[in-house]
Symmetry: C2
Subunit: 490 residues, 2 copies
């Protein structure tokens, strides 16, 4: 589709960029604007590294007012904006565009207020996920959603993608743990949405904002729910000879009414790689491994693990190990949380993020393995089984163009399978550019048109993260489409 | 404001109504259309009985397709629509308008599918709240949100108002328990939103729909989360000499990390009336009573009640009683759940529904009593303390116009107080017509404008429940305003 674009002469591009950088410096000062090539290169991609694109410029405001001034400027001048947290998006959600500026919130990372009796904390969204728990930990609290990238990822990104994590089975994902936000709209006006109270009157715009992938505005502050730290927690490892038995075990644990903090699932390829990396004591002679963690007092932990062990025993597990101490627990979680990295050292992979009704788990896992066999590719499954959020890692060789293409096709088939099974395309990673064309698999034209109308309502010129989430064709704003950066970026 | 309306001659009104009824009969058949005066009178008000208005006609479709055909007809002919569940709204959410038809979903009350391993049930929204639990009870499950009107109120109404209930402290309100909906839009197109899976890609339109008070579309089917029935549950009664001590007790229970199923709060006037009605064994020598219910196995119940008793003891409670058996538990809850009715037998009252950060409870309760003293009115407080959802019942004599006016002023002051304390105007009852003018207290012009843009996006002619939620002045659609039914209704 690049053919329809008349490329600007390089000189014109440079002149335009210089003018914009000059304006941005006038607004924010030199210290907050990155215009040089080396500086911009650090922002040319996110964790979806298959795609890269150099932005016009990068700004790092240190206040909501700074964000508002820059957005108002972009609004007046029709300049596209890519909001960015820490750039850990796995779906290209923070991928720049060559005719867009990046607005990073990483400098806005202060804790503004902690109220333990209201069990809430107000923070700037540039704060990292883990830093929130670190800030309220001394008072005996923590922030629940725990993406594997929590050491690096920002709350801003968590809000944009409605991020989850291994422990969201019990505590919910981001949208269940954010009470209110301050959001700057594209014209620079600031909205206050929700707050430290139950529910909200009027329409629930807060939930609309969370998961909207930076397309409706830039969230600069948030009031999050903080929870009291549990007395203790302990994981157990349950190995099965078949993924089918493990799936049934998960369904029975959930249906029993017990709510573990986490039920993680690993298949053989994932177990082997993670065990080699973390020496976590995972059994190597099983096809499927469950990590089930419960929390509470020593007695409650013993009760619940015993009850879950009973459910597992009925299915004849190949192995059943309860963590003996905190050191072993830490190793068990290290293995799980480093799974993507560990597998990444062995092969390139595409990480899928479909969700399914739990009742479909056995069927879907079998089909995933059949799909990858058809494409001659390996697959490792390591995911949040308790809430049906799958993460098949389709392994391929990125240096082999044909393999890379087959991997993308296999990934698309896997996601179509999830939708066909009554699930959806993405549980916690977002749509970004990776899955935008698959949105048609999930949504009818009526559904998509309504969502795009909402995008247009908040951002009439489609300046905010424009190339993401929706298929590039059939968009309501031709202007935003003809010059669509992502088309050039691909 | 009725002055600005040129009243149609009665004959023209009748002719128009007859024509519309004829069209509706052609669409749905005689059995589903109510056009005669006696039939329509049954629909002229809801549980907010201060206001009444006869609709043009009432239709009771038995299918999504029927709803779609009627909405498409209304869309083509610019006829206003009042969606209705069971008409139990406390804020006039289902109040008809004289130039609108009522679409009731009460005939659409089937359970379509139950999937225990996915812990979900798909139902038509005309089903009553309690009927969902009744349908899944034999399988060992229940539907969690439990408004006091649950015997009568429909899921459709619960979704429109994002209803809560005494047991939502642990299980969340409607928006936390609905996974997906089928919604008919004003032009008759049908949207499928969400489903029996975690999260959703694209924007979170589901949460936007829940709590939108029938203004964005008519929800005809829903997939709800069902939860396994607990092993058991037991309430305890904790009486205090002051509301301050009771408030502190609530804060400490919450901050301790224990999550009771319910923490209900009653002040002296509420205790006296409810005890007289239900003989629940409430202590009559205390200023504040907490009903704290926990659930689990016998051991867990004993543990948790003991732990909570310990927290209470530190504050020197006047009385502390643990329910001895199911019969006593039933009486304790009967007293609480019949509170509104019991107080209603003693005096007319306005039921407020503000929510506040729990840390503000003591201060807000004192201020509420001061406000009502200033207006020379009695007030009873009986509410969901655990999640900060207040229900002050302001008592007055409806036959005394000046008292009625003072009661409305006091109610407005109470809600302003809630907002000033960092809370909001309504926790679970909705805005309806009762609180529409107070929306300005909560929201800036920017916030309101954005919400009304969303209303216009879904319903360009403002035909769906038009007079509700937003202040009548400053609306974006003059056409919808000039002929605003609620203006005539007042």
């Amino acid at each position: 589709m690049t053919a329809i674009l008349l490329p600007e002469p390089e000189s014109a591009v440079v002149a335009r960029r210089d003018a914009i950088v000059k304006d941005l410096v006038a607004i924010l000062g030199h210290a907050s604007v990155i215009g040089d090539e080396d500086g911009r290169r650090a922002y040319e991609t996110d964790a979806f590294t298959a795609y890269r694109c150099m932005p016009l410029a990068v700004v790092l405001p240190d206040s909501t007012d700074g964000v508002a001034q820059v957005l108002a400027y972009c609004h007046r001048n029709g300049i596209k904006v890519i909001p960015r947290g820490a750039g850990t998006s796995l779906c290209g959600g923070a991928l720049p565009a060559e005719d867009a500026i990046v607005i990073g919130v990483s400098r806005m990372n202060k804790v503004l207020e902690v109220d333990t009796s209201a069990r809430s904390a107000r923070v700037e969204t540039g704060i990292t996920n883990l830093a929130i728990s670190a800030a309220v930990g001394p008072a005996g609290f923590f922030y629940a959603p725990d993406p594997s990238s929590q050491l690096a990822c920002t709350l801003a990104g968590n809000i944009a993608m409605n991020s989850g994590g291994a422990h969201c089975l019990k505590y919910g994902v981001t949208t269940n743990n954010v009470l209110g936000v301050k959001m700057v709209m594209i014209d620079g006006t600031v909205m206050e949405i929700g707050g430290a109270h139950l529910d909200a009157d009027g329409y629930d715009i807060l939930a609309l904002i969370i998961g909207s992938e930076g397309q409706l505005g830039i969230v600069t502050e948030a009031t999050v729910r903080i929870l009291p730290l549990g007395e203790g927690a302990r994981p157990m490892l349950i190995g099965f000879e078949s993924t089918a038995k493990a799936s049934i075990c998960v369904s029975r644990i959930i249906a029993s009414g017990i709510v573990p903090v986490a039920i993680e699932f690993m298949d053989r390829p994932a177990i082997e790689v993670c065990e080699a990396f973390a020496k976590a004591g995972y059994p190597l002679d099983v096809d499927a491994l469950l990590i089930v963690e419960v929390e509470g007092s020593e007695e409650e932990i013993a009760d619940r693990l015993g009850y879950i062990a009973g459910i597992a025993q009925e299915l004849g597990p190949s192995s059943l190990v309860i963590s003996a101490d905190d050191a072993q627990s830490a190793k068990i979680w290290k293995g799980r949380k480093s799974a993507f990295g560990a597998i990444g050292r062995k092969a390139d992979y595409l990480c899928m993020d479909g969700t399914i009704p739990l009742s479909q788990l056995t069927y879907v896992l079998e089909e995933i393995s059949n799909i990858c066999k058809r494409y001659g590719l390996g697959v490792a499954n390591v995911f949040h089984a308790g809430d049906g959020n799958l993460h098949p890692l389709i392994m391929y060789d990125a240096n082999d163009a044909r393999q890379a293409e087959r991997a993308e096709q296999a990934g698309a088939d896997v996601l179509r399978l999830c939708v066909a099974a009554g699930g959806c395309l993405t549980g916690e990673h977002g749509v970004g550019i990776e899955k935008r064309d698959l949105m048609r698999v999930q949504f009818s034209d009526v559904d998509l048109a309504q969502q795009m109308r909402i995008k247009t309502l908040f951002d009439p010129q489609w300046l905010l993260n424009p190339a993401k989430v929706f298929p590039l064709d059939g968009r309501p704003v031709p202007a935003a489409r003809a010059s669509d950066p992502a088309i050039a970026a691909e």
